[in-house]
Amino acid sequence: MQEKTITILIDENGDSSIDLEGFAGSGCGKALDDFRGDDRMRLERKKPSYYSQTTSDQQQQNKR
C-alpha cells in the first residue's frame, strides 16, 4: 500500500500550502479538511500525478 503523506509549508507571512500524496477517493478531501481548519482556501488543484493515475486507470479499463 502506498504511503499517504501530507506536507505543509508555512511561509514567512504565516500562510501555508498543503501537498497531499498517495491518497485515494474521498480520503484526499478529508485530509485537506483536517489540515485546512479555519483557514481560507486560495487555490486548490489536482496534481499531474492525479491525471496520470486516472489516465492509467482508464487504459487498464480499455484493455479489459
Binding site: 503523506t5 508555512i10 514567512e12 500562510d15 501555508s16 491518497f23 481548519g37 483557514d39 492525479y50
Partner: protein
Amino acid sequence: MSKYAELTTILREQRFLIAALEEMGYRAELHQDGAHLIGYEGKERPEVAHVIIRRSQLRPASNDIGFARAPDGRLVALLSEYDQAVGYDRAWLGRVQQLYKEKQTVSAAKAKGYIFKGKEVIRTANGPQIRLQFVTR
C-alpha cells in the same frame, strides 16, 4: 490521488496565538471580556483587545500590542503606527502567524491521528519557512 492547496491563515484560536507569542518571548495577557491597551505615556488607549502584550515587554517607547476578537471570531492585530515603524511590522506579524499556524497544524494533526514525521526550517531571502510532514495509513 494527489492534491495541492494554498491557504490564508486566519487567527482564531487564542491558545495557539498565546503559544506563538510565548515562543517569541512574550508573556501575553488573556482577557475574555477585553481590556484597554495602554499607550507609551501610560494612559489608556481607546482600543480594546482580548490578547495583549504589555508595553513593558516591548521597546521603551512602545504602546501595548493587542489582538482583538472581531464579530466573526477572527483575532485582529492592533498595532500602532509607531510600533509598526520600530519593528513590530508586517514581518513581525508574519512570524506570529507562522508560529500560530505551526502549533495549530501540529495540534490538529495529532487530534486526527496523523503521524508526525518531521519539521524542517528552510532559510529564504524573505525569512524562514517551516515545512512539516505527516503520514497516515
